[in-house]
């Protein structure tokens, strides 16, 4: 970021003229606004966590229980072992890791060519970008017929390959931005010294974008981990990712809010950890590379 505000150890809001309204009143309003916002945006998270440790007797009470008397962790064992959460973790993990790994290899190479050689011109860029924004339902029918024709509905392969339709475009688009930011001098001097293009790419370019590679991979992992619509269209109960399991838990007569909340928390934990590790890159990744933040 160009601004000093984010990194200076002391608040500079009043000392330096800012793009934002000044004065003490403004500052107070800001504190209140952020506080109210935090309560609104974080309360549902708190509700999920607190529900996940409530005993069944407190799931459907009126008034609702906001602070349970004791912590009841059996919801987690129920979610993991009775509701297939453990298998869900494995399935989500296998699908998300595979799609991300394959997407990284293919997407990074493509990104480099798009950035440095403008290969395919704007048409190819446009094609890739359109795919990133295509609603899965729009290709749902042919996608389903395609995988049934191959007898692969409800398999890892179908989900992994189908997830590539947005994973490759995402990685290609974000990495393209990082490659464009990298000065060409580095590769040029390597090429002058007789390195092949592949060598220059692997030995010179990739090490220079290592943090970006890690960040992009983790964000792609988050998207794959969270994916829901394709899973709904292509799963029938054998391959069950965590987002897919949640709706199946609603079918019982008695709504098992504690178990559901525990399952949701299990699904949320990895992405929340990754988000905190990745703070610096979140903006760029989430805006699909359109906005830089450091």
């Amino acid at each position: 970021m160009t601004s000093t505000a984010a990194h200076s150890p002391f608040p500079s809001g009043r000392a330096v003229p800012t793009p934002v309204t000044g004065g003490r009143g403004g500052l107070l309003a800001s504190v209140v606004g952020v506080a109210v916002g935090s309560v609104f945006f974080l309360f549902p998270i708190y509700w999920m966590l607190v529900t996940s440790v409530k005993p069944p007797s407190e799931w459907l009470t009126s008034p609702p229980v906001f602070i349970p008397d004791r912590l009841y962790f059996q919801n987690y064992t129920d979610a993991l072992f009775n509701w297939g959460g453990l298998k869900g973790l494995v399935d989500s993990g296998v699908v998300a890791v595979s799609a991300t790994a394959i997407g990284m290899v293919l997407g990074t190479f493509a990104a480099y060519s798009l950035a440095r050689f403008r290969i395919g011109g704007t048409n190819l860029s446009f094609f890739i970008l359109s795919l990133l924004f295509m609603p899965p339902v729009a290709i749902g029918i042919p996608m389903f017929l395609f995988w049934s024709a191959l007898g692969l509905v409800d398999t890892y392969i179908a989900l992994i390959v189908q997830y590539l339709t947005f994973t490759i475009p995402f990685i290609a688009w974000v990495m393209k931005g990082f490659f464009e930011d990298l000065p060409v001098d580095l590769e040029e001097s390597a090429l002058v010294n007789g390195a092949s293009r592949l060598r220059a790419f692997v030995d010179i370019v990739l090490p220079n974008v290592r943090p970006a590679l890690v960040a992009t991979a983790l964000l792609a992992f988050i998207f794959n981990w969270n994916e829901f619509s394709i899973a709904v269209l292509l799963s029938r109960g054998r391959v069950t990712t965590l987002p897919f399991i949640l709706p199946t838990m609603m079918e019982s007569h008695y709504v098992l809010w504690g178990d559901i909340a525990a399952m949701a928390a299990v699904g949320a934990l990895p992405v929340v950890i990754i988000a905190f590790l990745l703070q610096r890159y979140l903006v760029r990744g989430l805006s699909f590379g359109a906005i830089r933040s450091e």
Binding site: F117, I141, F146, V161, F244, A275
Partner: protein, 311 residues
């Protein structure tokens, strides 16, 4: 294209390398998307039913003609449009206010921003289930709070008039933090000198916001608007979990109606025709976004695209 010419000749010599590296990704993407799209184009001209034993007939543009007369199709377009419009205006307004507020609080700013961002990185499936529990008529916290304020309790997702606003609330909760974060990044990239000058001129805070900050932010705002438009247009997951399109067809968006026709009624041909309407809308939106995202080759972007707008 101009930029290619300015490039040292070595770069144009790398064509073979470029083709080889871009080919695998492109081929996979074509197989996974162009084939299905061509196939569904063909389907859209037939009366194919998924589970029917009768062979499909070629019906020309009949599906498209039927679409034009299908009230549910028009209402699903209306739902999608209403959803997208509210999402963009409300989330942008509140997101901007929050970004400006956060900007004033440099201490712990990044930590708070990341904490607030949790809703945006959750699976929409997880988010929907949390809200299902919050919306619960008798045991949900929302109605409990309404009761405390002596307000009438609400059937959040079961009342036809409330169902869509309730979904908007969930989308607001999930995506406003994301909008805030993008705008905050935009604010940080603004050149301080402009504001110094304005302050010296004696402009009020409101004038600075209105005539300096917002115009300089317009590029980031444009990108944010387009990303949210596309997100709102694609909305499917929260409808699937929270209302299943109901009550009646009150929350049946284009994407969801498309799903219902294809995967519930198995009217594959008709559903394919509807997909094409979505595809065209997405292509138009992607065209717009490309204009904002593309940068010249090898020229590092000035910190955020905003900076270009400042010139």
């Amino acid at each position: 294209m101009m930029a290619t010419r300015r490039r040292p000749s070595r770069w144009s010599g790398g064509r073979r390398f470029a083709l080889l590296t871009v080919a695998p990704a492109t081929i996979i993407l074509i197989v996974l998307s162009v084939f299905p799209l061509l196939y569904s184009l063909r389907l859209s001209f037939t009366d194919q039913q998924l589970l029917s034993l009768v062979p499909p007939r070629f019906v020309g543009l009949a599906n498209y003609a039927q679409l034009l007369q299908d009230n549910l199709f028009w209402s699903s377009l209306g739902v999608a449009a209403a959803f997208a419009l509210s999402v963009v205006t409300v989330q942008l307004g509140v997101g901007l206010a929050l970004a400006l507020a956060l900007y004033r609080l440099p201490r712990y700013q990044q930590f708070i921003a990341t904490l607030l961002l949790i809703p945006s990185i959750l699976s929409s499936s997880v988010a929907s289930f949390q809200w299902r529990s919050l919306f619960d008529y008798s045991s949900g916290p929302l109605n409990y709070f309404l009761g405390l304020l002596h307000l009438p309790l609400l059937s959040w997702t079961a009342d036809p008039r409330l169902a869509l606003p309730s979904l908007l609330l969930v989308d607001f909760w999930q995506w406003t933090p994301f909008v805030t974060l993008l705008l905050l990044a935009g604010l940080h990239a603004l050149p301080a000198s402009v504001f110094e000058a304005a302050r010296v001129d004696g402009s009020s805070s409101w004038q600075i916001l209105r005539y300096q900050t917002l115009p300089l932010l317009r590029r980031v705002i444009a990108i944010t608007v387009i990303l949210r438009l596309i997100g709102a247009f694609k909305v499917f997951d929260i409808i699937y979990v929270l209302t299943a399109g109901g009550p009646g067809s009150a929350t049946e968006s284009l994407a969801f109606y498309n799903y219902v026709q294809g995967f519930r009624y198995f009217s594959v041909g008709y559903s394919a025709a509807m997909s094409y309407v979505s595809v065209i809308i997405v292509i138009v939106l992607a065209r717009v976004i490309l204009r904002y995202m593309e940068r010249p080759v090898g020229r590092p972007a000035a910190d955020v695209p905003v900076a270009e707008a400042a010139v």
